[in-house]
Subunit: 335 residues, 2 copies
DNA sequence: GTGAAAGCGCTAACAA
DNA sequence: TTGTTAGCGCTTTCAC
């Protein structure tokens, strides 16, 4: 900046003014300085501006796994909304490891980011609360906020699970399997709870009517783990007539596993996914699933985060409803 | 930091030493300071450290579209490699818009990031060269480096296209269609060139034997655009017996469009994708495609970028080979 | 082993 | 309208 000032024959603060409050600079001085900036190829130093107290344009996004298309699309929603405010997204995957999550939060806080949008890997919000108290706003995604000092964007997965249950019950199913994960992923458990609720409401005992499967989230890749896990469904006696999967990726693996075991979908067994990823409608058979407004979730989270900087901000939760998408992987049970 | 110093009864520089060069501090002083840091909840200020000349831990990743699973996985490769070096990834999608790309590069340079890994949306490298000259290292992904001052990680797509062509020719195909895009995406064009080379080598005239289709990359979503574009293949006379798509997502749409038109794959027409995304093997029919070491591409790019900081760094290009994966969407033409 | 001091590049209040 | 000045929080000599 000093160099530009010297070359343009003005003081450093005039250069600063041209950059930050151009309207207070005389037009010809401004033109001269701007020309010099271009000639020299001068680029402003963000860290120095931050040091002076300006807000960072960077927002941290801490998610479970960017390679999961659900999170990738969510992140696009975050990015697009933030871009409208001139902000950038620092994307971090935790792979469900809370140690890694803690590291990442530490790094982000040191960078003095504008805020953090997080899909937490554990249930304990204390680290997030402290971070928020120290001045880095936090928005939870896909997790109940658990404290009035945080904002959150959530989907009513319980209702999603209920929709699936009601759909299958309506088709005449009475024996179910739920392919969940070994992790305490809140959303995934809510889906199971909703399913159980639907069974109970139909007069069934979930302990009897629902076979509970858990696959490790990784490694190996979920799609392979799911393919393996369906073995248990295939050999269960009596065998469930409907398999509800925690998400579409698991359903993809399940379809594969069922095919390998010689079971036809939906004739021998119905399969349901969750997320409605882009490939769901093109699988064989097209997958019945539950769609979430994934991209909008991201935008909403970014909205909340940006709002944290506003004077009258109040912490709040935005709740989205899921929607059942019926395709051909579900049908009435045979026999 | 001053606050910690006061509370611990030492000077600010001792606190700094505890943080940056703990070994030169007396053990008991160090313990006392560390305890105070924890009590107070002190967090180091990254921007201030950067201002002092330390390198930023942030690397920019500028890609075409994070919602495309190919880039999402690529980005995971980048992230994982950088994490090993304690770095973070600032992920930006350009949606093929060079205006947006320019904006993003400007923002990243202002943030004084450690470097930028970019999958460029245009062919002109001057902006990147200038950035590199000003001190922000640049690594190109999926794009020839075009200048010895840049590093690049590339895949031999020409060879990929050739593999596809040879496979289809070997099955007996003589009339082809290539579903490309309206953009000057270098990799996508290379694939077509490879395909044309194979045809030429087999004694065919590409101008005659190859129907060239172009779909706009967006909007609408590529998968829908591709579904629409296959109309032209269906109604072509004589109709091509093999459809080669620029990537798996386009192939997904093409399968859909062909099904809607009443054509069977592979009996009536063979279809080939590119990328080998996770769903490719589970489509109906399982998709013949070309796999790239996507995750490794990301790691290799991060490797090169980190190496830029080393004293003896020489700019270079890392080239990966693609591999044909034959599944059931290709077969000998009927009749 | 510890502290004092200079300065990284910038912004904003104030003086000229 | 432009320039002078005082830091923002930190690292790093260099005395002590």
């Amino acid at each position: 900046m000093r160099e530009v000032a010297r070359a343009a024959g003005v003081s450093a603060s005039t250069v600063a003014n041209v950059l930050s409050r151009p309207w207070i600079v005389a037009p010809d001085t401004r033109d001269r300085v701007e020309q010099t900036i271009r000639d020299i190829g001068y680029v402003r130093n963000g860290p120095a501006r931050q040091l002076r107290g300006l807000p960072s344009p960077i927002v941290g996004s801490v998610i479970l796994d960017l390679a999961n298309p659900f999170y990738a699309e969510l992140n696009r929603g975050i990015e697009d909304r933030l871009a409208e405010a001139g902000c950038l997204v620092l994307t971090c995957s935790t792979d469900h490891q809370s140690v890694r999550e803690k590291q990442l939060l530490g790094l982000l806080e040191e960078q003095a980011v504008r805020g953090v949008i997080i899909s937490p890997s554990g249930a304990d919000p204390t680290a997030l609360l402290e971070m928020s108290r120290r001045g880095t706003p936090v928005v939870l995604i896909d997790h109940p906020r658990g404290h009035p000092d945080l904002c959150a964007v959530t989907v009513d997965h319980r209702s999603g699970g209920r929709l699936v249950g009601e759909h299958l019950l309506g088709l005449g199913h009475r024996r179910f399997a739920y392919l969940g994960s070994t992790l305490v992923a809140d959303g995934v458990n809510q889906r199971r709870e909703g399913l159980r609720e639907a069974l109970t409401a139909a007069g069934l005992d979930p302990e009897q009517a629902l076979l509970d499967l858990r696959v490790p989230m990784q490694p190996p890749p979920l799609v392979d783990a799911a393919a393996g896990a369906v073995e248990q469904v295939v050999h269960a006696d009596p065998r469930p007539t409907a398999l509800v999967c925690l998400n579409d990726t698991a359903a993809l693996g399940a379809l594969h596993g069922l095919e390998a075991a010689g079971l036809r979908v939906p004739e021998d067994i119905s399969v349901v996914g969750y997320d409605d990823l882009s490939f769901a409608s093109r699988l064989a058979p097209p997958l019945t699933t539950v769609s979430q407004p994934t991209y909008q979730l991201g935008r909403a989270a970014a909205d909340l985060l940006l709002d944290e900087a506003e004077p009258g901000h109040t912490h709040r939760e935005t709740l989205f409803p899921p929607a059942l998408v019926v395709r051909s992987s579900t049908a009435a049970p045979s026999g």
